[in-house]
């Protein structure tokens, strides 16, 4: 391993600019003549708009323009994934207007935009817009929305149902349940979360009258996806006249994948006002307009034989999609959830039904993990419950059911083929690091201090590296999901990598440079990585679903292969040898078995100054682009173990120890990988103990600020003990699997299993997330002082 190549914990190239305040986030950009947009948003969860009068706002100081729904007749925001119901019918796909058309359907739904010289003027003027609302009854919970008589959101979605989807062999599952020795049943809620990257969303729209070109600067994880969706579907702008730039982006976690109304508004309005227009969300707007995550209500049943072998799993879920379909919302509770329900186990039959509902809440879409945390939570909670019921150690029950090490490729009953894995080793590693064997003693010691101590295991699997385009297309995706890379070798031998993926914290500028350093033998200073600008990079699908390395890294490998292959031809000419005899290693092309060689830089120079060059057979230049379409998903997996202590008097949970052992395949930069795991764990623990998007019955988001929505703080979390064990991905050239989401997938179940373990001696059954002090205190009180509860 070289000091800058694959496997080295290289310090990040991007850090010096971030540490000195020289990052360039969207709100840091100020265009000449820029003016400011402010959006008037609905204070009602559900209302008819009888009249929107913008007259006085238009006359307010500094105001250039005010547009309401009637003024902005453009296409609706599209949904990128078509799901079919059980009966074969396509999902209900009601329009998602950029500005409300006659009706608002959630608090925060945009009604009008004011554009003024300053942000304060725009905000002041928005107060002068007169809106005559006719409030309508609202519905906020998915189950309620599907009940007869519920308020109806969209004409196009009868009974508020988007689709009634299923996957798996129902007959086989029913038959397995009929002969089961034991059946475990569980009702659980996967709480709604707000992604809350620390950088609020922002967008700047600009129009150049001379060239007819539009530019959108936006806080996006995937600028080309925005260009395609906004250009082709919403504004009908030709793509060659539309540039989308996603500069430094301050975290995404999924919430910055989607095409949002504000992007279309500032782009569309720019030529109307003849000035660049900036919009930046206040945090309160982020809560009311960024797509939220999770929100499932699930009934699950697990059938076991007398030895604790899983026979079948039956799952019924209601997923709350919010008021409108966000870009990938429909795929999350279906193909990113149902397909993962085999988990790490040999369960031969699985059947899942998912009904997705429209409600008067902010739209729900992918949030770190997206569907896979929900699946892991169902499986790992019910497996633990079964272990408790059958009095089998939870680690032992898992071992009895793990997919054997030699069973790969392994076909699950829910459509996926796992290529590789070793769940035994990660379980053993985690148990050892967590001193699982010594837990009983720690529990006893805690009891002496009056604390209830619990330990919880979760093993998880995820499907990452999205996705084989043809497979995704067959399942309803309306996009290809390959990735691209261009490797531009400059005449003096330095290189620039243009990647279609996007870094918003993941450190691609370093990791991708390491791949190049490793292969081409160049120092990191000679390698720059460019992303996030559709005028610079080749068409790419961006970053989400832990796809950057498995898909984008693979594209880069392909581009490097092309460069090396062409370099060999040039070197053969320079060395007067046969191309077949040229080897490339450590930055040198050499004739096999001799010491005759030319350095990479010399070959690059010859390619651009082709004086001595095979010009008849070979074009000059050394600049290659590659597209990589994955052959399969990748399957990171692992084991998380949480140890918690509950204060009996306050119900407060302290996470005293957290251990993770993960299999991410080959690791390029272990320092960055550990950081990704830490961040994911914090979000997973946040979901389990702190975070909850709570709506009142009339649809107000009660937890609409950092005062009410509990973001995990430093003193809520422990330091983490993380380790990895690699089984290599068998179908991509790097053997990588992806690491971005793992923490958020395993942690919720591990924590809640630990909570259940701590409370089991009091006879307390399953609690829902977040396990707040209040919830736990009430549960303890109900058992210990029933009169108080």
């Amino acid at each position: 391993m070289s000091a800058t190549g694959i496997g080295a914990p290289v310090r990040r190239k991007e850090d010096s600019r971030f540490l000195t305040g020289r990052g360039t986030y969207t709100d840091d950009i100020n265009r000449p003549g820029q003016v400011h947009a402010f959006l008037l948003r609905s204070p009602h969860a559900h209302a008819e708009l009888r009249r929107v009068d913008t007259t006085s706002a238009k006359a307010a100081p500094g105001v250039l323009a005010v547009f309401a729904g009637a003024d902005m007749q453009v296409g609706g925001l599209p949904c990128g994934w078509l799901i079919h119901s059980k009966d074969g019918n396509p999902m209900a796909e009601p329009p998602h207007p950029v500005l409300a058309q006659g009706k608002v359907r959630h608090v925060g739904d945009p009604i009008a935009v004011v554009i003024a010289e300053t942000r304060a003027q725009a905000k002041d003027a928005a107060e002068l817009i007169v809106v005559d609302y006719q409030p309508l009854p609202a519905v906020v919970a998915g189950e309620d929305a599907l009940k007869p008589g519920a308020p109806q959101l969209h004409e196009q979605a009868k009974g508020n149902l988007c689709y009634d989807w299923h996957l798996g062999d129902k007959q086989a599952v029913d038959a397995a349940f009929a002969k089961a020795a034991h059946v475990t049943r569980l009702d659980i809620v996967n709480n709604r979360l707000v992604a809350n990257p620390m950088e609020p969303r922002a967008a700047i729209g600009e129009y150049d009258r001379a060239s007819g070109e539009y530019t959108l600067y936006t806080t996006s994880q995937n600028p080309h996806v925005i260009r395609l969706l906004m250009g082709a579907f919403v504004l009908q702008l030709p793509e060659h006249k539309l540039r989308v730039v996603a500069p430094d982006v301050g975290g995404g976690f999924g919430s910055k994948i989607y095409h949002y109304a504000e992007e279309a508004i500032v782009t569309w309005a720019a030529p109307h006002v003849g000035r660049p227009i900036k919009w930046t969300a206040e945090r309160g707007e982020s809560f009311a307009s960024d797509a939220q995550g999770r929100d499932h209500v699930t009934h699950a049943e697990l059938a076991l034989d007398k030895d604790g072998k899983f026979l079948a799993l039956r799952v019924a879920t209601i997923a709350n999609l919010g008021a409108y379909l966000s870009t990938f919302s429909t795929a999350i509770p279906t193909y990113l959830y149902g397909t993962l329900l085999a988990g790490t186990y040999t369960t031969p039959a699985v059947y899942v039904e998912v009904k997705s509902a429209f409600t008067n809440t902010v739209p729900v879409d992918a949030y770190r993990g997206a569907g896979r945390p929900e699946a892991c939570y169902v499986i790992e909670r019910i497996v633990d419950t079964a272990a408790r019921e059958l009095k089998i150690d939870p680690a032992e029950l898992r071992r009895r059911n793990f997919i054997p090490k030699d069973a790969y490729p392994y076909q699950t009953p829910v459509a996926l083929t796992y290529d590789s894995g070793d769940y035994f080793t990660t379980l053993d590693m985690a148990m050892k690091a967590a001193d699982y064997a010594g837990f009983a003693q720690r529990r006893e010691a805690a009891a002496k201090r009056g604390k209830l101590r619990g330990i919880g295991i979760a093993t998880y699997i995820e499907a990452c590296g999205i996705a084989p385009s043809a497979v995704a297309g067959a399942l309803g995706a309306r996009a290809g999901l390959y990735e691209t890379a261009e490797l531009r070798v400059h005449p003096t031998g330095s290189v620039t990598v243009f990647t279609g993926t996007h870094s918003h914290g993941q450190g691609h500028e370093t990791t991708f440079a390491q791949l190049v350093s490793d292969r081409l033998g160049l120092p990191l200073e000679m390698i720059d990585v460019v992303h996030g600008d559709t005028n610079k990079i080749p068409f790419g699908m961006g970053t989400y679903g832990s796809r950057s390395l498995p898909v984008g890294g693979s594209a880069l490998v392909k581009a490097m292969d092309k460069v090396v292959n062409k370099g060999k031809k040039i070197a053969a000419h320079l060395l007067e040898a046969a191309e077949a005899d040229i080897e490339f290693k450590d930055g040198k092309f050499s004739v096999a078995g001799t010491d005759r060689n030319v350095a990479f830089g010399q070959v690059a120079f010859a390619a651009y100054v082709p004086h001595n060059y095979p010009i008849e057979e070979l074009e000059p230049g050394l600049d290659e682009t590659a597209f990589y379409d994955p052959k399969n998903f990748t399957y990171p997996a692992g084991c998380h173990i949480a140890e918690i202590e509950i204060d009996r008097d306050t119900g407060d949970v302290a996470v005293v120890r957290f251990t993770a052992a993960d299999d991410f395949g080959r690791i390029i930069n272990p320092m960055i990988v550990e950081g990704q795991v830490h961040g994911g764990l914090a979000q997973g623990i946040g979901q389990a103990l702190y975070e909850n998007a709570v709506y009142s019955d009339d649809g107000q988001l009660v937890t609409g600020s950092f005062m009410d929505y509990c973001m995990p703080r430093a003193d809520n979390l422990p330091s983490f003990d993380v380790a990895t064990h690699a089984t290599l991905c068998t179908h991509n050239p790097l053997g990588v699997k992806g690491c971005g989401e793992a923490g958020a997938i395993g942690a919720p179940a591990a924590i809640m299993n630990a909570v259940a373990d701590a409370l089991a001696p009091l006879g307390i059954g399953s609690l829902d997330m977040p396990a707040t002090p209040e919830r736990i205190w009430r549960a303890i009180a109900a058992k210990t002082m029933p009169q108080a509860a």
Binding site: R17, D28, M198, G250, H678, R713, L717
Partner: protein, 157 residues
């Protein structure tokens, strides 16, 4: 409109502001010091922390006019030329940042912490960070960085 005169990163500046202008708006919008960030509207996140007369302050919680006559240091004023401040160096070395958005506030807050704690415990660091939210790192490496940075500052002091 009001006129404020203050020293920012060692340079005297005078600006005309609306009375409602926040210090962070003056820094970002009028002085083009965009290293100081805004992550919330309720004074919770700490992305906006700067030093005012040597103490860490949330610049979204202070009016620009209140900073009249003050010495303000922002993240842009911390390094000496190309040489990172020991706290910045410790964040880099310990991978205490991912997206970088909370980072300026974290670093400025940490520098103030280091002035008051010579050999801090993990718990002291975690408690100090109550007013700084990071969504990316899970705090693990930030805590490590602040410990290392505090020790390094102790050595160079």
């Amino acid at each position: 409109m009001a006129t404020v005169t203050l020293t920012v990163n060692g340079k005297s500046v005078t600006a005309t502001v609306e009375p409602r202008t926040l210090l962070v708006q003056l820094l970002r919008e009028q002085l083009a010091l965009t290293g100081t960030h805004v992550g919330c509207d309720t004074s919770q996140c700490g992305a906006c922390v700067v030093h005012v007369n040597g103490d860490s302050v949330k610049s979204c919680t202070m009016l620009a006019v209140q900073a009249n006559g003050a010495q303000v240091t922002t993240i842009e004023g911390l390094a000496t030329g190309d040489k990172l401040h020991p706290m910045q160096e410790a964040f880099r070395e310990n991978h205490g940042l991912q997206c970088g958005f909370c980072t300026p506030g974290m670093v400025m807050s940490a520098v103030d912490f280091a002035k008051h704690h010579k050999s801090p415990t993990e718990q002291q660091i975690r408690e100090w960070l109550e007013g700084n939210i990071c969504r990316c790192t899970g705090y693990h490496n930030i805590v490590k960085a602040i410990k290392a940075g505090t020790e390094a500052m102790g050595r160079t002091a």
